[in-house]
């Protein structure tokens, strides 16, 4: 197996600096346990570094980074027995904040978002996460493999849930 050298190393450093925080947020979605989360994050970085040897500008670096990260995370989560997952269609509202004093704060809202994403089936969880990361519909489609129409339907549904929950 050949490992990336030179250019990919530079690209990795650039990608990790630019998208490191987003990758950490993604790892937090897929792993609640801090130790497992650290492992997942390291695996994502490792795969990202390896994959950059094959990156030749087929898409934007951002899309590439998210695609690799999502695939590593989803591969790991598929090996686990996550039960009671639902689709966006089955979600009425966001779960309420556990602590009442956090209900209207950013911390409380973000906590509710985590609870919701962790309840969702793939690829709905991916769509929601990417939407929150401010990815456009075309890029979400590229990363998840969903059609533009399927992404649009999900985003529409997601916006309705968020509007109801944060009105």
């Amino acid at each position: 197996m050949t490992e990336p050298h030179g250019q990919p190393d530079t690209q990795y450093v650039q990608a990790a600096a630019e998208f490191g925080e987003a990758l950490a947020r993604l790892a937090r979605v897929y792993e609640a346990d801090p130790d497992l989360r650290r492992d997942l994050l390291q695996d994502i970085h490792l795969e990202l570094w390896r994959s950059l040897a094959r990156f030749a500008g087929q898409c934007s670096l951002r899309t590439w980074v998210y695609r690799v990260a999502h695939n590593v995370a989803i591969s790991r989560s598929l090996r686990k027995r996550r039960t009671n997952l639902v689709s966006l269609e089955e979600i009425a509202d966001l779960p309420s904040a556990e602590a009442e004093d956090l209900a209207a704060t950013d911390v409380g809202n973000v906590a509710r978002l985590y609870v919701l994403i962790r309840q969702l089936l793939p690829p709905d969880d991916q769509v929601m996460l990417l939407y929150l990361e401010d990815m456009d519909a075309a890029s979400i489609g590229e990363i998840t493999g969903l059609s533009a129409r399927a992404v649009a339907t999900r985003i529409h549904r997601l916006k309705a849930i968020l509007a109801r929950s944060f009105a």
Binding site: Y12, V13, A24, W49, R54, V110, D124, T144, F166
Partner: protein, 194 residues
Amino acid sequence: MTDIKSAWQRQHIEEHTMLTVQDLRLRANRMRARLSHRNWVLYLYSAFNIVAGLWLIANDSFPNMKAPMLLMIVAHLFVLWQVWRRFGLGKLPPETSGQHVLQFHRQELERQHHAVANAALWYIAPFMPALIWELVIWYGRLELATAGGAATQKVFVLVVLAAILFWTCVWLLFSRHAARLMLELERLSHVKAE
């Protein structure tokens, strides 16, 4: 809506990890070393069985058992090849898009389930002809040699029972594994694909 997005992106993250390229190389090498170690263990185990079998044949240790022992060696080689062919995991390029990942996992699970569900045919059955042949030869010799001793007969019965128990356990383990894989497949079928 922008507020909730910016709240999401502004959240405090304590584990913002950026590995150095040196760390990454080290981890990649360790991973390769682990896989290589596992493969070497399998190769050495098979090599030991084959060499031991050949040595026993060459030294004429069991003159009446040469043919079944040779057949057992062939069975080991066949099973090793089958394990490599059927249980070897495919690797998906990590940049593949989402639905292809699900499809890939489903195909892998189906392949593994098929292999495990049919393990009696390709893992257990190849050893049976040689094993039965060896036992028949041994039994034949028992009849000649047991005029005065019931003890050797008892040993023979114990060996047969142990062999039956061992292969039943192997079969049960494969069956359990197949049931688990089926559960995984059912769970995966709930994951929506479009």
